[in-house]
């Protein structure tokens, strides 16, 4: 079963992902931290699927798909930004300043 | 730990030892075979100095690689530089663990110590047998196994999906090797390989969907059983096989898709900076991948260990008869599997020494604009055809279904090859010079 430990692990991994987002300035690493968080969520889905039925596992499929789409588009954006600024450092990406 | 579980673990370890030994030794011998085949094709003799007909050449090469000096590039990322060969090597070998190399063997043993004792006694090794039996008991305690032993090290329920998943990891080794070497050539090789393998992985995965559709399962044992009951899938899914095999070339970085290595452009691509045993680990990985691709092709499309015309299922009698599973049959089936796999390995080598290398943009265009759409279209056609045959025509027999699909495949293959070829290869490479026409202009247009 391992439901409780799996959820705990998921919580820890998610927190680590969040911490990573706060800690890094590299846009690509930031993306990876987001992937880590998504993985953590997937883990809780799979863990709960044991109790609640296959819906959880199906949801993981969808999360994976969305993650793949997000990675593709996100990385393409980063490539485009890199062409502009020759950097993927978030501190150099602030044209959205209000 | 129950005796049954212990027996399972023990037998699995045995299988592992056998399979990995055979694969590693086989891979070593494949280097020799490659050189022999190339020599044969170029009308040479090939290696013939070490051992009889050069049979010990691989051993000599291995020895040389082990004792050679390990070189490190000056500003390489050391950790990743060391990690890369292992990351190429491990997934490649991991794959051989899930392929069914032989027919499943029914075993019913209550005590392995006793069984070994009995076996050795029959060979007149009475004291040795008793000693081994005693040792066995001392180490393992009671060990037993009742049931059918799979021909694979691990017969996973996820089957060839595991192959797809793990083979996609091979790219890490190559990409890391390219990046960590801190060399332009290596980096280019690494970049090329990661793009190429990710691209062709898609086509490969999609090309295997028709197999899944037809067998209704992904596990190797079930797919082989279906092929025994019906026909080998090469007949109903011929185009699928073609697509898979072409993608396989790209996945293993073999010619005509060996852009990541590309001696003449990138020196040796990602492993330019590698020497000695680390270099040979990349080599082993590559040959091991060739073995895997060939074995998977024979398992999915040529019935795996299935001996032609002989059936193990009384419900579907073979042309030459029906046999019971047993040690003899298992050995026979292993031989058959070996022959099939070797045939494909030979084809791989044959093609290497026949076709020239693609240009990189051609390679990507082929992957995304030809292979993938073709595979997707094929999935749609086959699924529609299966639905029509099963629900529209109401045909239940697997054999009849297969032959109808075979007919469909013939038509499709004619169209596809006609389209791909455009009068270049199938109709003969010299056909363009023989085009009847008013002059060179018309001929040029035809070539374009």
């Amino acid at each position: 079963m391992l439901l409780g430990p799996a959820l705990a692990l998921s919580a820890i991994l998610f927190s680590i992902g969040v911490a990573g987002v706060l800690l890094r300035r590299n846009a690509i690493v930031l993306f990876m931290c987001i992937e880590l968080m998504l993985n953590a969520v997937n883990l809780s889905f799979v863990a709960l699927a044991q109790v609640h039925g296959l819906g959880g596992q199906i949801m993981v499929f969808f999360v994976m798909t969305v993650a793949a789409a997000e990675a593709a588009v996100g990385l393409a954006i980063i490539l485009a930004i890199f062409r502009h600024t020759q950097s993927v450092d978030l501190q150099n990406i602030n044209v959205l300043q209000g | 730990m129950s005796p049954e579980l212990k027996g399972f673990i023990l037998l699995s370890i045995l299988k592992m030892l056998v399979v990995f030994t055979v694969v590693l030794v086989g891979v070593a011998l494949l280097t020799l075979m490659e050189r022999k085949v190339s020599a044969w094709m170029q009308n040479r003799r090939g290696p013939n100095r070490v051992g009889w007909a050069g049979l010990l050449q691989p051993a000599a090469d291995g020895l040389k690689n082990i004792v050679k000096e390990e070189t490190f590039p000056a500003v390489a990322n050391t950790g990743l530089f060391l990690l890369a060969p292992a990351m190429a090597f491990i997934p490649a070998l991991l794959l051989s663990g899930v392929i069914p190399w032989a027919a499943p063997l029914p075993i019913s043993v209550d005590d392995f110590g006793e069984a070994i004792h009995a076996g050795l006694t029959s060979l007149y090794l009475e004291p040795t047998g008793r000693f081994i039996s005693w040792l066995f008991h001392l180490v393992f305690g009671p060990v037993s196994f009742h049931g059918v032993l799979s021909g694979a090290v691990a017969d996973l329920p996820v089957g060839f999906l595991f192959i797809l998943a793990v083979s996609s990891l091979g790219v890490y080794g190559i990409a890391l090797a390219g990046w960590s070497s801190n060399s332009k050539y290596a980096l280019l090789g690494g970049l090329r390989s990661s793009a190429q393998m990710v691209s062709y992985e898609v086509a490969m995965g999609v090309s295997l969907i028709p197999v899944l559709l037809l067998s209704g399962n992904v596990s190797f044992s079930e797919i082989i059983n279906r092929q025994q009951a019906g026909t080998w899938y090469i007949f109903p899914l011929f185009l699928s096989f073609f697509l898979y095999f072409v993608s396989g070339f790209a996945e293993t970085n073999r010619l005509p898709f060996d852009l990541p290595e590309a001696e003449s452009e990138l020196i040796a691509g990602y492993h330019t900076e590698y020497s000695a045993m680390k270099f040979s680990m990349f080599f082993i990985a590559e040959y091991s991948n060739v073995v895997t691709v060939s074995a998977v092709a024979s398992a999915l499309f040529f019935g795996g260990w299935d001996v032609p015309f002989i059936s193990v299922d009384p419900a579907h009698p073979g042309l030459l008869g029906t046999v019971n599973l047993g040690l003899l049959f298992t050995l026979l089936s292993a031989l058959v599997m070996f022959v099939k796999t070797m045939t494909f390995i030979f084809v791989v080598m044959w093609i290497r020494w026949t076709l020239p290398r693609f240009r990189y943009d051609q390679l990507m265009a082929l992957g995304w604009k030809v292979m993938l759409p073709m595979a997707l279209g094929y999935v749609m056609i086959i699924s529609t055809a299966i639905y029509v045959i099963e629900h529209g025509l109401g045909i239940e027999s697997a054999r009849t279904q297969s032959w109808i699909l075979f007919g469909l495949n013939l038509i499709l293959a004619y169209g596809v090859f006609g389209l791909l070829d455009r009068g270049r290869i199938v109709s003969g490479s010299n056909s363009r010079t023989r085009v009847p026409g008013p002059g060179p202009v018309a001929g040029a247009r035809r070539v374009a």
């Binding site: 439901l3 969040v18 800690l23 993985n39 044991q50 596992q57 990385l75 485009a80 | 996609s168």
Partner: protein, 185 residues
């Protein structure tokens, strides 16, 4: 034994994740993330989700992370100064981790038994598995030989529309990525 393997994999996942966010080299970070994903794939197998495990390896490790690695290599990152922020950021990250972790641990108390009894208006439920309506499917999923069938049936019947929408999303993402990467913006 399952529990032991789980804790081993879990520890490896946490360690890899921590290394992932602290390594200054993006390539190392990516590889540690791959390691985390492998550990998670192992955990999925333990949680009776073999297919999710395979797809985890196939999609995340085999495709998404390769893409990350590819981009990192293409931009030739990681050869310059570290991108890890300074001390205040560390403190902040640690604080957020602790707070969020604490909050999630509060959620962790929602065991199946507690959830079942809450849904059942307070009465204690002996076997939570018997209570949940989709229990039959869960049992189906636990049987390794037919897991694929049950999963696909669910995916292509109950979740057909989301599935199709996801495919459209993928198509849009593919086109978007091509357009973004191709043009000079």
């Amino acid at each position: 034994m399952t529990a032991a393997v789980f804790y081993l994999l879990g520890a490896s996942a946490i360690a890899s994740a921590l290394l992932c966010i602290t390594r200054k080299n993006p390539v190392s970070s990516a590889l540690w993330l791959v390691s985390t994903m492998f550990a998670l794939a192992g955990i999925y197998v333990l949680l009776h989700a073999q297919f999710i495990a395979v797809f985890q390896v196939l999609v995340y490790a085999g495709a998404v992370m390769v893409l990350f690695l590819f981009v990192i290599m293409l931009l030739n990152l990681g050869r310059e100064a570290s991108d890890v922020r300074g001390k205040p950021a560390w403190a902040l990250a640690a604080a957020v981790m602790v707070i969020l972790g604490a909050q999630f641990f509060a959620v962790w108390h929602y065991t199946p038994a507690q959830m079942a009894s809450e849904q059942h208006s307070g009465a204690a439920v002996a076997d939570p598995l018997a209570f949940f309506p989709n229990n039959a499917l869960a049992a189906e999923a636990a049987r390794p030989d037919d897991a694929f069938g049950a999963l696909s049936a669910s995916l292509f019947q109950n979740y057909l529309v989301p599935f199709e929408i996801t495919s459209v999303l993928l198509l849009v993402a593919a086109i978007g990525a091509v357009v973004l990467a191709k043009r000079r913006i």
